[in-house]
Point group: C2
Chain length 418, copies 2
């Protein structure tokens, strides 16, 4: 059988699926000298290993017959219950057990929601730029993505409304709007309360569903927490996606969907055909970690660790980077967003950065409809404190050289972008 | 928002997906008096809990920083490697690392293979009856299933060939053939060597891919092991699906795909959009269980436990069941297959069985194109030894009553089906 025979057999969506740049870059992490600001990995120093040892032991001692068995497709009921109540206590968005489904990470939540709502060619709205994993999930279901520009307060409501009105005139229906309202991936920006209310008002008036993806919401270093859009959701339009990957550990691979019970029922049937259930052992470990009050004190420790890293990275950027480069200072989460001068390409520059043993993610793949050639995402959670300073210095040399080459050696004279 | 609004938004495939009968039946397991031969759960007595305690502890002591982190989409390399070599040692089908991908149970293998090969309306061939989870996965991708009759030696090659020739005349292309060649779910039948060779010859001549799903192959109580069709696969046409759920424990939710590296690459991209990676903690636990030589001695123990249960169930069937009912004696696996008199409906009888605190799975849903109203699947792995005898006796009363009602009380006179 020749390879070409497979090619004849592959599905349409498979032939259009591409491996992501982030994924390819993650392979670089294996080089010992590489300092990577690519990827979105939590720091292993932020795993509660010592506290989890007795928890894992307890699961094996007391719950092994259940934890090692298949679970129900909806997930471990004790974990669903504690999440349902936690959504009330933490977020003012209380849920019933029937509103919660456990998933194999929140990426599976994105996939299941796509599966139950999207036919090929359906339209989906996102921020521009937006989380690459969401773009991949929607494109794997052959959706058309329309991306709405964001500013330092997230997606711009007037542009969203304008887009929806235009679509309605053309008798087009968007299936849903996807947002990461707090500490967005990739930009780190957070939508403030007033704009959240405006967005919720718009989705109600245009009869739209919102997917509120919230992996970083609890990782706030400073400032006031903004309420979830889910907490305003008296019309059952919001599908909330949560995960334990960033606040406990990704290795248990456990996230959840909180939504109207009819959507949970549909997603459950889809998940049954997809993988029967999420790993039960991890669900038991996470439930016991919450029940024995390890999770929330631990989140405080993560916040301390990541706040220091963010500050170190921003200090290093100020110290080493040329004035032509702009960045933001998010109040939490894992990422900074950098804008280079227009004439620069983060992609063209990447091989030079890698030669100098520093890696980042180019911004372009996060723009579903193209653009962003001169942007990059820097992750500050994974690298060690020492690496952050060294890595930013390495990256500054690469950037300064590119600027210098492009401006005849007079980088100082380059007009700074406002 | 009214519920009807969701209904307008759901995808085509979501509107046709149905919750499975097995799934609904699994809920019955919670009733304390119920004896369930439904489901396909391993017995918790067959979990190596004491042996896994030090393994899990070792993972937390030594590998926690990696085991609690995200893994690569392809899976934990040490586990992939030991599976690749094990496929050679155990099955005479050696693989390279690049041929192996870890999945969230083998159900995800079925889904990913469906995702990369199937467009809506595509044709898939299966045995008749076949594993319900496979039917669900193929239907979730809107495939059309053509099912080929099986006998006590599995799918009948002449019927397969005839079907393929008919399809070729009509310019129809089947994307793949799906089989569980050893201790099939639901019937327990095994395809012998000669027929395996015939089937492989047919798929080569008709340029077809075969999915060889093999969750039970190592659970052989007696008789000679048949070689995998994958071991004959010099044309790279076989996609093998394996799982640790039945031979170690399902709670770690870990299976694998073994296939040509191009298929693995496609499946990896599809999995990346679907859930990023399989839970890393479970992968580490399973690798360490293999590496510290717990797995294969443990399989011997499972075989002893399940052989006794199979024998107990068959003894009870002989003791209690009326002569009108036929069953088989598989040499391994988890299931027996029962054929009732034609006039009986396993579905109509089910509520009466449940009233009498005994549950089974009706055969009908395993027939993709309908039929099998008078068949049922009995699982002997999950119930305790005492429950097996009591449960079969309870079920015999229900069956005898139905026969008696339908034959004017003279069940003895009913013509036995050959």
């Amino acid at each position: 059988m020749k390879k070409s025979t497979y090619a004849n057999l592959y599905s349409r969506s498979s032939n259009t699926m591409k491996s992501s740049e982030i994924r390819e870059l993650l392979k670089l992490l294996n080089s010992p000298d590489m300092i990577s600001f690519a990827g979105g990995l939590p720091n292993p120093d932020a795993f509660p290993i010592e506290k989890m040892k007795p928890i894992v032991e307890h699961v094996m001692q007391t719950h092994a017959r259940d934890a090692l068995q298949y679970g129900t497709t909806e997930g471990h009921n004790k974990l669903r219950d504690v999440i349902a109540r936690g959504m009330g206590q933490q977020y003012g968005a209380p849920q019933a057990l029937s509103n919660i489904m456990i998933t194999n990470g929140s990426q599976q939540g994105l996939d299941l929601i796509s599966k139950i709502f999207l036919n090929p060619g359906d339209k989906v709205l996102t921020a521009n730029p937006t989380y690459l994993g969401a773009i991949m999930a929607f494109q794997a279901h052959e959706a058309q993505i329309s991306a709405i520009a964001l500013d330092e307060q997230g997606i711009i409501p007037e542009l969203l409304e304008d887009k929806l009105e235009y679509m309605e005139q053309r008798k087009e229906q968007a299936k849903f709007l996807y947002l990461v309202p707090t500490f967005q991936n990739p930009t780190g920006v957070t939508i403030p309360l007033k704009r959240r209310e405006k967005i919720y008002d718009i989705i109600c008036r245009h009869d739209l569903i919102l997917i509120e993806d919230d992996p970083y919401g609890l990782l706030r270093f400073e400032g006031k927490r903004e309420p979830l859009i889910k907490s305003m959701d008296d019309e059952n339009r919001v599908i909330y996606l949560g995960t334990f990957s960033k606040i406990l550990a990704p290795g248990f691979r456990t996230g959840w969907i909180a939504a109207h019970e009819e959507i949970i029922r549909k997603a459950t049937i889809a998940k049954q055909a997809q993988d029967l259930c999420t790993n039960n052992f991890g669900q038991y470990c996470i439930f016991e970690a919450i029940y024995h009050d390890i999770l929330f004190p631990h989140i405080k420790e993560i916040i301390t660790i990541y706040k220091e890293k963010r500050d170190l990275m921003i200090d290093a950027l100020k110290e080493f980077f040329p004035k032509e480069v702009r960045w933001n200072k998010p109040q939490g989460g894992l990422f900074l967003w950098l804008v280079l001068p227009e004439f620069m390409s983060a992609l063209t520059m990447l091989p030079r950065a890698i030669e100098n043993n520093v890696a980042y993610v180019t911004g372009e793949p996060f723009f579903p409809n193209g653009g962003g050639h001169n942007t990059m995402r820097l992750n500050y959670s994974f690298a060690s404190n020492d690496q952050i300073k060294v890595g930013i210095e390495r990256l500054s040399h690469v950037i300064k050289n590119v600027i210098s080459e492009n401006t005849g050696g007079i980088a100082e004279d380059f007009v700074s972008i406002p």
